[in-house]
């Protein structure tokens, strides 16, 4: 029996390209999320006071860890924006249609739980996706600004006398008004990353023993934990709270 050629007129090279896009967008997103969490921890060194923060920043710069990282992250940032955005519907009408479907998919409220708010929630994962697109656009603007600012900070001491990342200018900037865009950036980046990883896990069936609701719980824990940590960090940077962990370095010179 002869085998019929497949009807889908898609050469393997096209299929391979789609796979490549998918891998690049997923892996770059994973890389950025992992970096972002590590970065939050490092920035959190401000909780131990200016001394701890400056020591860590100096360490990362003196050993040339910060400089290549800035370059790699900038590239990842652009690569992720290009590959991940390829699935956003181009026409406003199409995006409206998707939003309408998400809203219509809410469970019809059974008459005995008519008062339950849950019954009126739009479809969760569809709304999460729509918000991922929205936060992605915010990240493109605020993230670019942040990356550019820090690139200047980190790379300029290589050419002059300016002192790289240090607590003085950081605190002055944040308390001087940058706390607002940074607060928006923080919320958007935490949301975008945790939801992105949740969807990535479902897509590849990572830990297929975990149910969707279990993965969702992990996602929520990650979101709130890192958002909370980041919020405290930001409040300390804005000067509204004294570094709560300063006692750790009390004895240090």
């Amino acid at each position: 029996m002869t085998r019929a050629a497949t009807e889908l007129p898609v050469p393997a090279s096209e299929a391979r390209r789609q796979l490549r896009y998918e891998l690049i967008s997923g892996l770059s997103g994973l890389g950025l999320a992992v970096f972002m969490w590590g970065h939050m921890l490092l920035v959190g060194s401000i909780l131990t006071g200016a001394k701890g923060f400056d020591w860590l920043a100096g360490f990362l710069e003196n050993y040339y860890i910060a400089q290549p990282t800035v370059v790699v992250i900038s590239v990842l940032f652009i690569v992720h924006a290009v590959t991940a955005s390829r699935k956003i519907p181009a026409k406003l009408e199409e995006r409206r249609r998707m939003r309408d479907i998400a809203k219509a998919l809410k469970r019809p409220a059974p008459h005995d739980v008519r008062d339950s708010d849950l019954a009126f929630q739009p479809h969760l994962e569809s709304m999460l996706w729509i918000w991922q697109v929205r936060t992605g656009l915010v990240l493109l603007v605020l993230g670019s600004f942040h990356v550019l600012l820090l690139t200047v900070d980190v790379l300029t001491p290589m050419f002059g006398e300016i002192a790289g990342i240090e607590s003085g200018s950081t605190l002055a900037r944040v308390s001087g008004g940058l706390w607002l865009p940074y607060a928006v950036l923080l919320i958007c980046v935490e949301f975008h990353a945790s939801v992105g990883l949740y969807r990535l896990a479902v897509k590849w069936g990572v830990g297929s023993t975990l149910s969707r609701s279990a993965l969702r719980r992990i996602e929520q824990v990650l979101f709130w934990a890192i958002l909370g940590f980041g919020a405290v960090t930001l409040v300390v940077m804005a000067g509204w709270l004294d570094p709560p962990l300063a006692f750790l370095l009390d004895g240090a010179q």
Binding site: T6, Y21, M98, L105, G205
Partner: protein, 248 residues
């Protein structure tokens, strides 16, 4: 005894149905909603309710039903915006006002009736959803054995009744022609699992790993939430993605 006892599930409700009406064959017809009111009965499904409406209020109402037991897949419709089977949806689980629309994406026959067959036939032809056997069938030979595990897995994706609910709920299928959707990917999965099918990974790769296949999906997961047969659609989807990765 509970279940068999007559329970008043209805509070003596008067149900208000808002039903989409349009006959594409009739040039006079314009899309609109008609309102019908009927008394709720215990254990009333939409299948029963729509038959009451057709028998007592409007004999011209068009809708599809055959098996009334969630096997034939012909009574998919939007129930207050959410795709569901009419026969499997009890009015007791719904508010008093019930709005019914035909499933989107599919060709409209009239009112609530859609032709899912056109879409599914195209999908089946595109994915060649039949066993590609290497050897000619020998009617006298013994059937080839298949491990029970594999048979169970195949059955899990073969349970699809092609009602089209997953396609109607899919954001991408709604805006992009030719996207295979959960039903299409599930169908590919069914034959990719089958040891009798001789297509190898590289052949499957070209069908699966495209923008119309697994790598077009944006992961809204609505298909998994609305499937009336509760098929493990996301599991099959992730399995196909991993298989595509290996096959590349």
């Amino acid at each position: 005894m509970g279940f068999l006892e007559e329970r008043d599930l209805t509070d003596g409700r008067r149900l208000k149905f808002e039903i989409f009406r349009f006959n594409p064959e009739d040039s006079e017809s314009a899309p609109h909603l008609d309102v019908f009111e009927i008394d709720e009965q215990p254990y009333m499904s939409l299948y029963i309710a729509l038959n009451v409406i057709r028998e007592t209020l409007d004999p011209s109402l068009m809708f599809d039903f055959a098996c009334r037991s969630a096997i034939c897949g012909s009574c998919g419709m939007l129930v207050n915006g959410r795709p569901a089977l009419g026969c499997k949806t009890l009015t007791s689980a719904l508010p008093e006002t019930i709005r019914l629309h035909p499933l989107p994406v599919f060709k409209l026959v009239g009112d609530l009736s859609v032709d899912t067959g056109v879409w599914f036939r195209e999908m089946v032809e595109n994915t060649e959803a039949w066993i590609h056997a290497q050897q000619a069938f020998d009617p006298d030979g013994q059937e080839e054995r298949m491990p029970d595990e594999v048979a169970q897995k195949i059955y899990e994706s073969d349970r699809c009744i092609e009602c089209g609910c997953c396609i109607a709920a899919c954001g991408l299928a709604n805006i992009e022609d030719g996207f295979l959707g959960a039903a299409g990917l599930n169908r590919i999965c069914r034959f990719a699992l089958d040891p009798r099918d001789s297509r190898d990974d590289s052949e499957w790769f070209e069908v699966v790993a495209t923008e119309r296949g697994v790598f077009g999906c944006i992961g809204l997961m609505a298909c998994d939430d609305v499937c009336p047969k509760e098929l493990p659609l996301l599991e099959h989807y992730a399995w196909l993605r991993r298989r595509a990765l290996r096959a590349s």
